[in-house]
């Protein structure tokens, strides 16, 4: 039972003004955007290194939530250390899953036409979704409140601790990712493989290890995203990853696919735009808006906001 989401005592809705409503929507948008950013990071990293869209990424995200659900039963509720254990376990579990998928389904197809790998990715995605339905059951489950939660208010502005958690954890993970990619050996290897796989091999990089690591890292981020998403929206089911996955991909493209800060920026932007549209009278066109953004970006600025446009050499 969830006993935490009570209205904060200091809340005074009488004080709400258009400005405070705007700020509230902005806040909602940022926390939604942070989750999109986390998932988008996984997409962007894999695309950067392998040049293909990992359709199964959104389902790894879902598996992360379910790992948290099942482990949450063995960990006391509402404790910080309990929450951290769940977060780490989900990240590890998803990293493992991602690496297994890469090894079994994608590696044998390395060098084959990208469309074949795309289809395989779709197959893996469907497999995860439908296996989830059979083994986890299709009914939505309630995610336990693994972190202590409360609501804070400033006038009529409300923010929940889970929203803050999402923003903070997402920011920390992004910083960690930047550090790994730009300050470690394996990060350099990742960048090398993404620039030119053959040349990287020539200088002694073990492509297989690097690619496995990339998948593991991206999937770990998806797992973290899964836990944070489930904390904010406690209803989880095997098909929960489909829409967030597609939106996160749009976010990755918006920011510039292959570009890590770009994924973060894209996620935040998309989350905010979506939230504002959601609160307006056009709310049912929300999904269409996300795709419209995708199309516009790809038509007018395919490299995304922060990406660099590469000319195709003949």
């Amino acid at each position: 039972m969830r006993a935490h989401h009570l209205p904060p005592e200091s809340l005074n809705p009488q004080l709400s003004t258009p400005l405070s409503e705007f700020l509230q929507q902005l806040l909602n948008g940022l926390s939604l955007g942070a989750i999109y950013a986390l998932i988008a990071l996984g997409y962007t990293m894999v695309y950067g290194v392998l040049r293909f869209i990992n359709f199964a990424h959104s389902d790894v995200f879902m598996v992360g939530s379910f790992i948290g659900y099942y482990l949450g039963k063995h960990v006391p509720e509402s404790t910080v250390w309990g929450g951290l254990v769940i977060l780490l376990a989900a990240m590890l579990g998803c990293a493992l899953l991602g690496m297994i998928i890469e090894r079994l389904a994608y590696r044998p197809l390395r060098g084959a036409a990208t469309l074949n790998v795309l289809i395989t990715a779709i197959g893996v995605s469907l497999l995860l979704e439908y296996s989830g339905q059979v083994f986890f059951g299709a009914t939505p489950r309630t995610f336990p409140a693994v972190f202590p939660s409360a609501n804070y208010s400033f006038g009529s502005l409300v923010i929940s601790s889970n929203q803050i958690l999402v923003i903070v954890v997402a920011a920390l993970l992004m910083v960690a990712l930047q550090l790994i990619v730009y300050r470690t050996k394996i990060g350099t290897a990742m960048r090398a493989v993404s620039l030119n796989p053959k040349a990287a091999q020539l200088v002694g990089v073990n492509n297989d290890v690097v690619i496995s690591f990339t998948f593991g890292l991206g999937s770990a981020l998806a797992g973290a995203g899964g836990i944070l998403y489930a904390l904010n929206y406690p209803s989880i089911d095997p098909l929960m990853g489909v829409m967030p996955g597609l939106k996160a991909f749009v976010a990755a493209v918006l920011g510039g696919i292959g570009n890590i800060p770009g994924a973060a920026l894209g996620g935040l932007l998309l989350g905010t735009v979506e939230t504002f549209v959601n609160g307006s009278q056009w709310s049912t066109y929300k999904d269409a808006i996300a795709f419209a953004i995708l199309i516009i970006i790809l038509l007018f600025r395919p490299a995304g906001l922060l990406g660099k446009f590469t000319v195709e050499k003949v």
């Binding site: 395989t120 779709i122 497999l127």
Partner: protein, 313 residues
């Protein structure tokens, strides 16, 4: 293929013949056969875009839905006005149905134009995502248009689809696509697929071919949609979503991109397979997705690609 028009005529006559005996066939089998036919039209039309022209489209179900809605709208709203309260004679109904299908096809073709033009600059994964996006946008639009039923969709669509119509359009679509790609003009599609830059360099207008592929592919997808609507008698916006597009893409991939016969066989197999797997309904989709993965790992050129040597993808 010498004198392909004769083949088309023969196919149409065969369709007439089969439909004559259709009341002797078990209704469930007839049902499956109709489903197979519709899927063949969808797969063959997508094959023109994906297989022959190399434009990876993941939004084909969107064109199907445009055709389905337009054809249903013609039958439901214009039908009573033109045919009168009685419903008209069989010939009149047939004529109305043909008009509805053509209208659906043309509407879908227009949608194909709208989607095709902006997508010209994109390749590979990006193109796939944009077409997916268009498919989703079409779905959201239909969900919000009250006049076309909104979320509930349209129902009570008259059941005009008979095995004759389905087989006739199967024959027509296969005829058009085969003749098109095997003609001199049609070499342009293959050239566009193989190497766009080289084609442009020798003076071929790849833009033209890409748009034509999208438009014709969309036209037939639209007619398939119209046939579908008058077969199931109910259509909803969510029925034409990304999952449906993926199903059609899988048929093209399994048949071997750019291989019409293979695609036809794959469409037949992939329509029959879920029916055969009905007893284990809960595990059906798991087996289906596993099949997909294994197929890609073991025989990526498609199950029914009998071309010698490495097939083009």
């Amino acid at each position: 293929m010498p004198k392909p028009h004769l083949y088309l005529l023969a196919a149409l006559l065969a369709a007439l013949g089969i439909s004559h005996f259709s009341d002797r066939i078990d209704p469930y089998h007839l049902d499956v056969l109709t489903g197979i036919g519709i899927n063949i039209i969808l797969a063959v039309s997508l094959n023109l875009v994906n297989g022959y022209t190399g434009q990876f489209s993941l939004g084909h179900a969107g064109f199907m839905s445009v055709g389905a809605y337009l054809a249903a709208a013609v039958s439901l709203f214009l039908g009573p006005k033109l045919l009168g309260a009685e419903g008209g004679t069989a010939l009149q109904q047939g004529g109305m149905f043909l008009a509805a299908l053509v209208a659906g096809g043309l509407g879908a073709a227009f949608a194909g134009l709208v989607v095709g033009v902006p997508s010209l600059r994109l390749k590979g994964d990006y193109l796939a995502l944009v077409t997916l996006g268009f498919g989703e946008i079409i779905r959201v639009i239909f969900q919000n248009v009250e006049f076309l039923g909104g979320a509930l969709g349209l129902n009570g669509i008259p059941a005009y689809t008979t095995i004759f119509w389905v087989l006739a359009f199967v024959a027509l679509s296969v005829f058009v696509v085969s003749c098109l790609v095997n003609s001199t003009y049609g070499r342009g599609f293959l050239a566009t697929h193989d190497d766009e830059i080289a084609s442009e360099a020798v003076g071929l207008n790849t833009t033209h071919y890409k748009i034509v592929a999208f438009v014709i592919g969309a036209f037939f997808a639209g007619t398939a949609g119209g046939l579908y609507g008058h077969f199931k008698m109910t259509i909803t916006p969510t029925g034409f979503d990304f999952t449906k597009s993926v199903e059609i893409v899988v048929m093209v991939i399994m048949g071997g991109m750019g291989n019409t016969l293979g695609v036809v066989l794959a469409a037949i197999l992939l329509t029959l397979l879920p029916e055969l797997l009905r007893p284990i309904a809960e595990y059906r989709m798991i087996i289906y997705s596993l099949l997909l993965i294994i197929l890609m790992l073991v025989r990526p050129q498609g199950l029914f690609n009998f071309k010698l040597g490495k097939a083009k993808t």
